[in-house]
């Protein structure tokens, strides 16, 4: 299977997931009750921008917000990083219960050092995660996300990246909860997180 085909299958899976998430919201079914939603799992071994290797097990006990991007991304990634930074500020003391993770899909350019000079500038709580091409591919398969290299003459190194831009929420047990679509305003994410954190306390 080519990378493009793999990507397309991942896109199909994300579409199915989106439909599942809608169904959950609409019927107020228990979180993670649909087959589609429960098929998303966070399984990864990646290196944090602090140089420490992390797996999903390291984040048990905390809500995690996971999103994908690359540091050469001028528009969407800084926008999402800025929204998440705002969410973390607005959560106040409850921010301690939430760990945002920015996973770079650009394994050629983004090593932990690149992420270290970029990600914390948005908010000190956000952890950047980098990996080898194989690690990123395995992570993408687990999250069922899509990413691709797009040739662009004017871009640094002659390429840019297309990628899934939603934000994934996982509960403290590591269970997939929901997606926030790209552009979901920070106050909306904050209110949703507050309600979920309160409900679990």
């Amino acid at each position: 299977m080519t990378r493009l085909q793999k990507g397309l299958w991942a896109a199909v899976a994300v579409a199915a997931l989106g439909a599942g998430a809608l169904a959950v919201t609409g019927s107020r079914a228990p979180e993670g009750a649909t087959t589609a939603a429960s098929s998303v799992v966070a399984e990864f071994e990646l290196t944090g921008h602090d140089g420490v290797v992390r797996t999903e097990e390291d984040f048990r006990g905390t809500w995690t917000l996971v999103f994908f991007g690359f540091t050469n991304c001028p528009d969407v990634c800084p926008t999402t990083l800025a929204e998440i930074a705002q969410v973390m500020d607005d959560l106040g003391p409850q921010a301690d219960a939430v760990q945002p993770l920015f996973v770079s899909v650009d394994s050629d350019r983004d090593r932990p050092e690149e992420l270290a000079e970029y990600v914390p500038m948005f908010h000190p709580s956000i952890l950047g995660l980098a990996g080898t091409p194989e690690q990123i591919e395995a992570t993408a398969a687990s999250f069922k996300i899509f990413y691709e290299r797009v040739p662009e003459d004017a871009a640094p190194d002659g390429y840019t990246m297309g990628h899934t831009s939603q934000v994934f929420l996982f509960d403290p047990d590591g269970g997939f909860v929901r997606l926030y679509g790209y552009g979901t305003p920070a106050p909306e994410i904050t209110a949703d997180l507050r309600a979920r954190i309160d409900a679990r306390e």
Binding site: N72, P74, V76, H123, A154, P156, G162, T164, G183
Partner: protein, 152 residues
């Protein structure tokens, strides 16, 4: 010819030309902003609203700034599956009386090959070039790296 008749001639030409094709003189640039960069190796972005106050359509055909070797308008699109991609817009048309917003997640000015870091608190001059050869210049403030809009 005295100075007055020069002015009258210019006004006369303008009055004839204006209804046919609007240009940079008719475009008001509002709420321009950009985010600080880390160094110069990564592309930057700038946002603004271009309002065409003229009676005819205007076409944005290019950009120029000494901040970046290359600057162009890109469009970010997100498909039904939540996958986001960028593409270069050769031209952007603004209908008479309409405004086009360059905002996060949509159209944006892509600043490539930065000639200097974008430093919070500073600004840079961006010229918007129209198809008729006219230009509109705007001073773009550089906000913090985590800015979310022109008032941050």
């Amino acid at each position: 010819m005295n100075r007055f008749s020069h002015a009258a001639l210019v006004l006369g030409l303008f009055a004839v030309a204006a209804p046919v094709l609007a240009g940079g003189d008719d475009v008001v640039v509002e709420d321009a902003w950009s985010r600080a960069s880390i160094g110069t190796s990564r592309p930057g972005a700038a946002y603004m609203t271009l309002r065409n106050t003229g009676a005819g359509p205007v076409v944005v055909s290019g950009l120029r700034t000494d901040l970046a070797m290359r600057s162009m308008i890109h469009s970010t699109t997100t498909d039904a599956q939540g996958v986001t991609r960028m593409s270069h817009m050769e031209e952007v048309e603004i209908a008479a009386g309409e405004a086009v917003a360059l905002a996060p997640g949509g159209l944006h000015v892509m600043l490539m090959e930065l000639q200097r870091p974008m430093v919070e608190g500073e600004s840079f001059t961006l010229s918007v070039i129209f198809a008729d050869g006219t230009e509109a210049s705007v001073e773009v403030p550089i906000l913090g790296i985590a800015a979310r809009g022109p008032s941050d």
